[in-house]
């Protein structure tokens, strides 16, 4: 008899160790001792030769972080985060290389194994590769540079474009927004700085790849993307880490600013190892006639708490959030999104899908807010959950606040199980059980995967294929 879909799906990320879980020897230029204090923050700032205002910004954020309690909402797993057991800064190379030949050999080998240089050659307009705390490689196509597109690691962005950075940095997510944003603001390192000039369309995606190698590591990249009026950019990020028995922490802050008529699409394929706590703040501003789209795929990590948000501040702005989460054994994916309609005739969609299996927990947590005065706003929220066995769990925490009468808001939520009857129906039509399970899961996530760039859609589909492989024999 064929195995159950439960056993079949247990194979999601089953080859993680082989594909992503390898680790390199630690040949670091500097590794901070565990724990966080003023001295560590000052050291980071000193290493980067930062202006005084950024050093002051970090120290003030540290005070915020230390004075705020750990959040008690979201997930009980949060209590496992031990801030004293983390290395807050690890430097692997002197400065980001513009050629892969400039990258230290073992680090270059890592990115070769992950296929980054190959992807760059084939389909990307620019690549940033972050290893531990800092970006080790950064390159953008020459023709884009000539059009004035800036794509740098954030440290270089601050050095080379201090005025633009100072004007926009932390205006979307201030340090005191929440405890984790305060932590990032104190110890941020790496991440991307993107500026797309007025009217420029970056047709191929810019990509950043984040890699943690060392045990008990904290990675705190900071990304700021500014799309000037009428411009377009698609930014894609991916991430992996070796699996260790102790925890690592990834806490990024990502700020997007879409100026009038601009469009930003931000795609994440999060595949951290299952010992990583992934606590991220992502927020965007969409001005008049601008569009911001978050495509957020969460496959890995022990716990993810991440709710990308869009503030629709200008008339006719549009926000879109597509969220997909797989929660396997020992994992909690607390994902979702927030849209705030703060101007008239703004529109938005949130589509969230979660799949829970092997006792994993998938949560949708979302906010839809329509402010007073945002008349003519239209929004649709759809959140669906698929449970693959009796031990798994799904929760939905939707919040809707409407301060205006003349609006159109729809909300749909479903929770379904891959039941014997669905399998039986398909099998009765001659489809084998493993194929039937695959069809059901594929059909469930298809609205999201079709929005991914092809290479990532292929990767997502490969994961689905893998889960089916386990069902043979």
């Amino acid at each position: 008899m064929a195995v159950t879909e439960n056993e079949a799906l247990a194979a999601i990320n089953a080859d993680y160790e082989q594909r992503y879980g390898f680790r390199d020897a630690e040949n670091y230029l500097y590794k901070a001792p565990k724990g966080l204090n003023r001295e560590i923050v000052e050291k980071i700032s000193e290493f980067k030769s930062e202006p005084q205002w950024m050093r002051d910004f970090r120290l003030k954020a540290l005070d915020h972080f230390l004075s705020r309690p750990q959040p008690t909402w979201g997930s009980p797993l949060l209590a496992e985060v031990d801030y004293d057991d983390i290395h807050y800064f690890v430097r692997a190379s002197e400065k980001p290389g513009r050629s892969w030949d400039d990258v230290p050999e073992d680090v270059k080998n890592t990115f070769d194994r992950l296929g980054i240089p190959e992807a760059e050659r084939k389909f990307l307009a620019g690549v940033g590769a972050q290893y531990e705390s800092e970006v080790v490689y950064h390159q953008v196509r020459e023709d884009l540079e000539k059009q004035g597109v800036i794509f740098l690691d954030m440290d270089s962005g601050l050095r080379e474009h201090e005025d633009i950075v100072r004007e926009h940095f932390a205006t979307v997510i201030p340090p005191n927004d929440n405890k984790l944003a305060a932590l990032n603001s104190a110890v941020w390192s790496g991440g991307s700085f993107v500026y797309v000039p007025e009217g420029v369309h970056v047709e191929m995606p810019l990509q950043a790849y984040f890699r943690i190698n060392t045990e008990n590591m904290g990675q705190f990249e900071r990304t700021l993307i500014i799309a000037a009026p009428g411009s377009y950019v698609h930014y894609v990020e991916g991430c992996t880490a070796p699996t260790y028995s102790s925890s690592s922490l990834h806490s990024a802050v990502v700020e997007l600013i879409a100026e009038p008529g601009a469009r930003i699409r931000y795609t994440t394929v999060q595949n951290w190892s299952t010992n990583v706590f992934n606590l991220v703040t992502k927020r965007a501003v969409a001005q008049e006639d601008a569009t911001v789209e978050w495509v957020d795929c969460n496959l890995g990590s022990r716990l993810t708490m991440k709710y990308p948000s869009v503030y629709l501040l200008g008339e006719r702005a549009h926000g879109e959030i597509l969220s997909i989460a797989f929660a396997g054994k020992g994992q909690h994916q607390d994902a979702g999104g927030k849209i705030i309609h703060a101007a008239p005739n703004t529109t938005s969609n949130i589509f969230a899908k979660s799949i829970s299996k092997d006792g994993g927990r998938g949560s949708y947590r979302g906010l839809l807010e329509i402010a007073k005065g945002a008349h003519g706003a239209r929004s649709k929220v759809v959140c669906d959950a698929l449970l693959l066995d009796e031990h798994s769990r799904s929760d939905t925490y939707p919040t809707i606040r409407i301060g205006e009468d003349d609006v159109n808001v729809g909300h749909e939520a479903t929770v379904s199980k891959v039941g014997e009857d669905q399998l039986f129906y398909l099998m009765a039509h001659g489809i084998p059980e493993d194929e039937a399970s695959k069809l059901i899961v594929n059909g469930f996530i298809e609205p999201i995967t079709k929005e991914l760039p092809m290479e990532y859609a292929v990767e997502m589909n490969r994961l689905i294929e893998l889960q089916m492989e386990g069902s043979i024999g």
Binding site: H64, T171, V172, P174, N176, D177, R283, I340, A371
Partner: protein, 105 residues
């Protein structure tokens, strides 16, 4: 109908200082930015927390909400950073007979 209320004698609110006044069910923060006086409602438009307890930057004439960090322009009441996006109310400040007064309604 607008009313005029007293805040304090001018010499009691030097540059860089702020003061909280109550009128009916309103609380109003009055700030001296390098000699210019401004008044805003003491309630963050993000989650209703008190604003005047936050960090006052007289050089840039802003106050930072102590709860989630939104920075408000004291001259206009407009938030310069998220998460707040709605301006807070501002009040006209009058100096009469060496006394700081507010026009409230």
């Amino acid at each position: 109908m607008p009313q005029i209320i007293d805040v304090c004698p001018v010499e009691e609110l030097p540059p860089g200082e702020s003061r909280l006044v109550e009128w009916e069910d309103l609380e109003i923060g009055v700030f001296n930015c390098g000699g210019s006086l401004y008044a805003i409602e003491d309630r963050c438009s993000h989650d209703d927390g008190p604003l005047a307890e936050g960090e006052f930057d007289q050089e840039n004439c802003t106050v930072e909400c102590p709860r989630h960090g939104s920075l408000f322009d004291l001259k206009t009441g407009t938030p310069k950073t998220l998460p707040a996006y709605v301006p807070v109310d501002t009040f006209a400040v009058i100096i009469e007979d060496e006394t700081i007064k507010l026009e409230v309604e």
